[in-house]
């Protein structure tokens, strides 16, 4: 151990003892200063930020990790990062909780004869692996009976950047075959389509912010599709342009669809007809020139408008309007993805979409291959099937599994699909080596388990897009005996070769980057977290022969058997990998407000037919898969369509499309039957409709002004005087997409406990901010209302507190003083917004030593009421800086955690007292209203009514 390491460890020990003593009333408390001052100039009690990259999903958002006293406390998006533009999604926010998670793997493990895991050393694990690698026959017994030479293979999740090179060099040096990478969402239909069309098997980048008309077909832009935060951020900016239009078509109901200006329900499988119609119409315009497609359009079905209307389930006028608007648009953008490309005709949908993109001149403009998203090494489920067959035939020797969990989400349940078969044949590999951070279902089946370091402890880089290079750098020292994936591969190579010196992955990475980009770029990369490079425009040519060949092969199968089960992507769990984060189950699904457990969404019509209501249990089955789930009625869902969320419960159906290798999300011929039982589901909203109370005053009624409803309301209490500031918030409902990132950010920032399903069923959730979907009683409009403490001027909670624990502060904050609170809960009963949360218990934090606690916010104990503070610690922090500089707090200087992470910038915070500030201006806007303003509470939170969406019904 060198001096520097020692000092770091000492520092960790001192902060650990400081933190661990927090919250305990002990007589003596130790203060352990550093032995020598830290050479990075860290000051105790002052936070520092490290710019790195989020690796919770493949999107590659730039994050700045806030580290205080050598503990990572919070992740926030890098303001200037071209992918996420300062925002971070619900999963990115929650991902920090894995760092100090008690279940993290702490040592390497090997399986003993009884099948139990035994702790071992890295050297021992390495020698077991190298022995097995050198034994090419894969003979476990050493008797030399096994005659067949076996191949060693390496399977990982999607890799990017230099790590991918490290895998290549490891595989080359050790004679291991690198398999196409495993992803549940490999976008293989889109890549295969682009290979057929343009010879480029890539996912292009889509520029919503440069389009004037977006036509999205099935793509779950805000949930999981390629780059959700980026899409949301672009969408937030684009909505402010008057010329921007967005039409979304989907067979089910998704969060993305509900945000579009126009949303249409398309019949499952109707996408190819819609695209055929659009292509035919476009071909009539593109008669000459480079982009004429007349010859190809002839290969598409030729139906009368009524025929197309019938196949797509859209009206004749709608289809007509769609094609007219697409042709008229100057910079259109058509995106097909999600459930539309993950179905039997998914590849055809992707091919026709690619052709449409080409024919309407989107390539190089709103669809860019020069900035392609790095999915180059990702395979598809066809590759998984191949692996399964090779395993079965005894072809596989050593099997490496790096950050993949094919069995975590499915394969446990019924059916005999590829993943179940893969699991059954898993034993046939001679040695299985699992690498990961947690003991997943896949790792449990491995012989050797190597614990990997968390992203915040590792070096690495990422190429989220062709033009962006993003760095992963450690913010904290490794907590356990773990190593980063790059280091493991380098050390394994060395162990295999028997060489003594081991280059660290950090040196390998920096060396490679220096060679490629030069030292100046590296410096910028390390300080800013990313570099954006200029990319040359790319000329993409259409391979007409390959396309014609494909178009001839398209089968227009109309025999769609209803009801249809849609396995929709989940905004909370991504492809299932984020299921382990407790916070993501604690925060409810924005469409249904269900937090823990699975459910099946059915249409109102189906509910009527089956005579079931919410929480009634039904059995849902598709070929080879059957499960019992409680019902949740989803408004807007068409008759004959049911919906479950991928990974929302232990057993989701699985199948894949043989053409594209894409996972199937639409299952035809599903059956649903009542069981007669009823299951309690933690749906946090008592009612999804306002039940006649005007929570959002305009919802479902004609245009009316609701501004200043609280004014002139009779009150017994004197008006509050505000000297310099009255803190307030303005939330734009046009921009809120219901993604719930704000809720996750709030949990992490304010040390809010995760309480679990049982307390949710008792209505004892602790969230300070929640997304309330408010469905109109009539019609299909839904608004997402972020509900937090409204910091009312005439707060009903303040007047009923017998001990003055909640009071109005001179700056307009509704303050809650925890040590005054005696827990009468009068305030909560009197609050019309249900935003006050009571600590029924001393909630045990999941991490040891209170490590993931934000040290700037206190932990509340049993018997105390708590609620949103407008991030008082951030207001105090800004005041501290302002006082240092002898000035007032500037507008935009205080950004609460929710506003900071909002991808669309829907939340504004500032001083309402000053009319020149952003909130001061917005609160006076015509669109501004206060929730339940007619009660006379005069909240400090203003909402801007949604006017952008075109609402039907």
């Amino acid at each position: 151990m060198n001096r520097r390491e020692f000092v770091r460890l000492m520092g960790l020990a001192s902060s650990a003892s400081l933190l661990s003593s927090c919250g305990l009333e002990r007589e003596t408390e130790k203060l352990i200063p550093y032995l020598v001052p830290p050479d990075d100039g860290v000051v105790p009690g002052v936070s520092v930020h490290f710019n790195t990259t989020c690796t919770e999903c493949p999107a590659g958002c730039g994050v700045s990790a806030k580290v205080m006293d050598r503990r990572a406390a919070k992740l926030e998006g890098i303001e200037t990062h071209p992918v996420n533009e300062g925002a971070l999604c619900i999963r990115g926010q929650a991902s920090i909780s894995t760092l100090y998670h008690p279940d993290r793997l702490r040592h390497p493990f090997i399986k003993d004869g009884q099948g139990d895991f035994q702790q071992t050393t890295w050297d021992n694990a390495y020698s077991i692996i190298t022995d097995a690698l050198k034994n090419a026959s894969g003979d476990k017994t050493g008797s030399g009976v096994d005659p067949k030479p076996r191949k060693h293979v390496f399977l990982s999740g999607r890799t990017t950047g230099t790590f991918s090179e490290a895998v290549d060099s490891f595989c080359k040096e050790t004679g291991v075959e690198r398999l196409p990478e495993f992803e549940f969402y490999p976008y293989s239909a889109i890549r295969e389509a682009n290979r057929i069309l343009f010879g480029r098997a890539q996912v292009p980048s889509y520029r919503i912010d440069e389009a004037d008309l977006v036509l999205s077909i099935g793509a779950d832009l805000f949930e999981t599709f390629v780059n959700p935060v980026s899409f949301a951020a672009q969408f937030g900016r684009s909505k402010k342009r008057s010329s921007f239009g967005w039409i979304h078509l989907e067979p089910h109901v998704s969060l993305t669809g509900l945000q579009a200006k126009e949303r249409h329900t398309i019949a499952p499988g109707g996408e190819i007809y819609l695209l055929s119609h659009l292509l035919r119409e476009v071909s009539k315009v593109n008669v000459a020139g480079d982009r004429h497609i007349a010859g190809m359009a002839e290969l598409l079905p030729d139906l009368l408008p009524r025929g197309f209307a019938e196949k797509t389930g859209l009206g004749v006028e709608t289809l007509d309007a769609l094609s007219r608007r697409l042709i008229r648009a100057r910079r259109p953008l058509v995106i097909a993805g999600g459930v539309s490309t993950m179905q039997p005709s998914g590849l055809d949908v992707a091919v026709l979409t690619g052709l449409l993109q080409w024919a309407t001149g989107m390539l190089g403009g709103t669809v860019r291959f020069e900035e392609a998203v790095d999915y180059d090494r990702v395979g598809s489920f066809r590759d998984v099937e191949q692996l399964e067959q090779r395993l079965e035939s005894g072809d596989i020797g050593v099997l490496f599994l790096c950050r993949v969990d094919p069995f975590g989400t499915t394969a446990g349940g019924s059916g005999s699909h590829t993943l179940v078969k893969l699991k059954d044949n898993f034993e046939k590999a001679t040695l299985r080596i699992g690498m990961g951070e947690f003991m997943t279902k896949t790792l449990e089946m491995c012989d050797v388990v190597l614990p990997l370091s968390h992203t915040l402890e590792s070096w690495g880089d990422a190429r989220p897009r062709g033009d962006i290079l993003s760095v992963v750098q450690p913010a904290v020292e490794p907590i356990h005996d773990t190593r980063s994936d790059g280091d493991v591969l380098i050390q394994l190579t060395r162990a295999y070769q028997g060489a003594a010196t081991a280059l660290s992955y950090q040196e390998f990475l920096i060396g490679r980057l220096k060679v490629r980009h030069g030292s100046a770029t590296i410096e910028k990369l390390l300080s800013e977290g990313f570099v954006k490079r200029r990319v040359e425009p790319l000329t993409v040519t259409l391979d007409r022969d390959a396309l014609t060949h494909h178009l001839r092969r398209i089968i227009y199968d109309d025999s769609h058997v209803k009801p249809v089960l849609v396995v929709a992507p989940s905004i909370r769990f991504f492809d299932g990998r984020s299921r382990g984060l407790p916070l993501l189950s604690e925060i409810p699904d924005p469409l249904t407000t269900v937090s823990y457990g699975g459910w099946v969404s059915i249409s109102e019509a189906t509910a009527e037919e089956l005579t079931v209501k919410d929480t009634d249990e039904v059995t849902v089955s598709v070929s080879g898969w059957k499960t019992a789930l409680p019902v949740k009625i989803q408004k807007g869902l068409p008759r004959g369509v049911m919906m479950i969320q991928w990974a929302s419960h232990d057993d989701t159906p699985f199948d894949f499309d043989r053409m594209s290798g894409e996972m199937m999300t639409i299952y035809e011929g599903a059956a649903i039957a009542k069981t007669g039982r009823s299951v309690a589901i933690p749906a946090l909203s008592g009612s999804l409709t306002p039940e006649g109370r005007k929570v959002i005053p305009y919802l479902g009624e004609e245009d009316q002004h609701h501004h200043g409803e609280s004014e002139g309301h009779p009150t017994f209490y004197p008006k509050h005087e505000h000297k310099d500031y009255r803190w307030g918030m303005v939330i734009d409902l046009d921009l809120c997409i219901g993604c719930s990132a704000c809720a996750a950010a709030c949990y992490i920032e304010n040390n809010i406990p995760v309480v679990g399903a049982k307390l949710h069923l008792d209505g004892r959730e602790m969230s300070w901010i929640r997304i309330e979907p408010v469905y109109a009683e009539e019609g299909d409009n839904v608004e997402f209302l972020p509900m937090l403490c409204q910091h009312c001027e005439n707060a009903p909670c303040e007047t009923v507190c017998p001990v003055y624990a909640t009071y109005h502060n001179p700056e307009g904050l509704n303050a809650q003083v925890y040590n005054r609170c005696v827990g009468t809960r009068y305030c909560s009963n009197n609050c019309p917004y249900k935003v006050r949360r009571f600590n029924w218990f001393d909630f045990k934090r999941p991490d040891d030593k209170n490590a993931t606690v934000n040290p700037e916010v206190s932990i509340r104990g049993k018997g105390v009421m708590e609620k949103c503070t407008f991030c008082i610690q951030r207001i105090r922090g800004a005041r501290d800086t302002a006082k240092d500089e002898k000035r007032k707090i500037k507008d935009g200087e205080v950004i609460p955690a929710c506003a900071q992470t909002c991808p669309t910038n829907a939340i504004h915070f500032g001083n309402l007292e000053d009319e020149t500030t952003e909130v001061g201006r917005l609160a006076k806007s015509e669109r501004a209203f206060q929730a339940l303003g007619f009660l006379g509470t005069d909240p400090g939170v203003y909402y801007l009514r949604g006017v952008w969406k075109k609402v039907h019904g």
Binding site: S14, I32, P37, V43, P44, G45, Y807, P810, A815, I872
Partner: protein, 172 residues
């Protein structure tokens, strides 16, 4: 007449104990918070006799919420040569030679359950004399807590200096 004398006498008798108890209790905290330290460091020598500034050792008091405790290296920067023959300095040197950080016992502590956030920086920047809370350490051989550090004590000073007295100033 005589039988009424018993009441004031009794009151005076028991009152004496009550007053004595109260007097002791009010002053007790001054005496109780002086824990033993790993070495008998004397502020009297360093501040009173040598004349070191507070910020020389507690260097983050004007930068951070924590005032900071000097590192062993900092102590040794002088004591490599100064007073090396004294037993307490030899103890210090032993820590340095063993490369072990020192575990000081905390003297001043605002009760954590009070959800109080105190910033040294703000008070130093407002030109509050360190002695206002920590007492005249230049006369203390062994450091002890001389202020109650209770809310009433904080607030009386805040009132006097017209500093904010809103709850959220300290509690959050």
């Amino acid at each position: 007449m005589k039988k009424y004398l018993g009441i004031p006498v009794g009151l005076a008798f028991f009152g004496f104990f009550v007053l004595a108890y109260l007097a002791l209790a009010s002053d007790w905290h001054r005496h109780k918070r002086a824990p033993d330290q790993p070495i008998d460091f004397s502020h009297k020598i360093h501040v009173g006799m040598v004349g070191l500034e507070c910020l020389f050792c507690h260097e983050t008091a004007d930068k951070s919420t924590f005032a900071g405790i000097p590192t062993v290296e900092k102590c040794m920067s002088c004591h490599k040569n100064v007073a090396t023959n004294r037993p307490e300095i030899q103890k210090l040197a032993a820590y340095w030679n063993a490369q072990t950080p020192m575990e000081w016992n905390r003297v001043h502590r605002i009760r954590v359950r009070n959800h109080v956030y105190f910033s040294h920086k703000r008070h130093v920047k407002a030109n509050i004399d360190c002695a206002a809370c920590h007492g005249e350490v230049e006369y203390m051989d062994k450091i002890r807590q001389i202020s109650s550090l209770e809310m009433g004590w904080c607030v009386q000073c805040h009132r006097q200096k017209e500093a904010p007295t809103d709850c959220l100033t300290c509690h959050r």
